[in-house]
């Protein structure tokens, strides 16, 4: 079974970035996404197709100085 990594953790392959966020319960959340080190804007997540080995970052605003 092909795997991807989401925020450094293994996860089963999901067809697109948009579907991945929905599966994670973050479909409408205040998050920004990157695929293999490159920013993917929210309106391009449906077209961002995933494949085994992809590295996905799902980031949100956090405490910072």
């Amino acid at each position: 079974m092909s795997m991807i990594h989401v925020n450094g953790e293994p996860h089963h392959l999901v067809p697109s970035l948009a579907l991945l966020l929905e599966e994670l319960g973050l479909g409408n959340a205040a998050v920004a996404t990157a695929l293999n080190g490159y920013f993917v804007p929210a309106n391009e997540r449906h077209d961002a197709l995933l494949k085994g080995g992809d590295q996905i970052e799902v980031l949100s605003p956090m405490q910072g100085g």
Partner: protein, 263 residues
């Protein structure tokens, strides 16, 4: 007179970081008590709950900060390369809905010194992409010149290393910086530990102070935030009032004329 940052009028000259507070409630109280209008926010991995940890904690934080009413200044803290910083800024702009970015490109994890070469390169790229860049930099005049030439309309020289609380570690360099960039808004960023140090920076003519640890790690963060707000305001008022220059010797303040002869 209000502080103008990228055509945005700011009344409070105290910019505050949001990290390392004892609780979200204390952070919110500190922002309110000090009248802070601009807060810095980072971008980090959202908790996904895949390993049993609390899920989506960033959403709670974002909700709290959004409700504070403060303007958000996202940062690129922890980025070591131009690519990391640019990508982080792009992601921050989308999720936080602002073109403002506190640009940090760090050269090493120990001293957290700015990588000034990467900083200038990243600033150039981000400004071309429409960002309003607030660069965290050293007090080096040449680097500041390059940042201004790249399009930075605000500069943020450090007082001392991040979180050190050392205060103004090189007053002469900062004084020269202020004089050289007379018409550029200058915000002292990092290294301030006490209100007196922030006040001194403002007396030197700096336009604002940005700090985090000195408040969040204080015994009473809310009271300390108030103390900083008062010190920064006092220092700015003193600068505008043109302080006297030091004089070698004594100078009587009461008039000599009209003294009684009581000998």
């Amino acid at each position: 007179m209000a502080l103008n940052l990228y055509d945005c009028e700011i009344e409070s000259r105290f910019l505050l970081g949001t990290a390392r507070y004892p609780s979200p409630t204390i952070l919110k109280s500190a922002i309110k008590a000090a009248g802070v209008e601009v807060v810095t926010v980072s971008l980090r991995r959202e908790s996904l709950g895949l390993s049993g940890e609390a899920k989506a904690t960033g959403q709670n934080f974002w909700s709290l900060i959004s409700q504070s009413g403060a303007r958000i200044l996202p940062n690129t803290a922890g980025c070591h390369s131009v690519k990391e910083a640019v990508t982080t800024a792009q992601m921050a702009r989308e999720v936080m809905g602002t073109n403002w970015i506190k640009l940090e490109v760090i050269s090493d994890d120990v001293a957290l010194n700015p990588d000034v070469f990467g900083l200038v390169d990243a600033a150039r790229i981000l400004i071309e992409e429409g960002f309003n860049v607030f660069p965290y930099t050293t007090a080096d005049l040449g680097v500041g010149e390059r940042l201004v030439r790249a399009g930075c309309k605000v500069l943020m020289p450090w007082a001392a290393p991040i979180g050190s609380g050392q205060g103004l570690s090189d007053r002469n360099a900062l004084q020269a910086y202020r004089q050289h960039f007379a018409s550029v808004p200058l915000i002292i960023d990092a290294g301030i530990g006490r209100p007196s140090q922030a006040s001194e920076a403002m007396e030197m003519g700096f336009d604002a102070v940005l700090l985090n640890s000195a408040v969040s790690r204080a015994g009473d963060p809310v009271l300390m935030a108030q103390a900083f707000a008062q010190a920064i305001e006092a220092g700015h008022a003193a600068y505008k009032a043109c302080p006297i220059e030091p004089y070698q010797g004594a100078m009587p303040s009461s008039p000599l004329m009209g003294r009684a002869d009581l000998s």
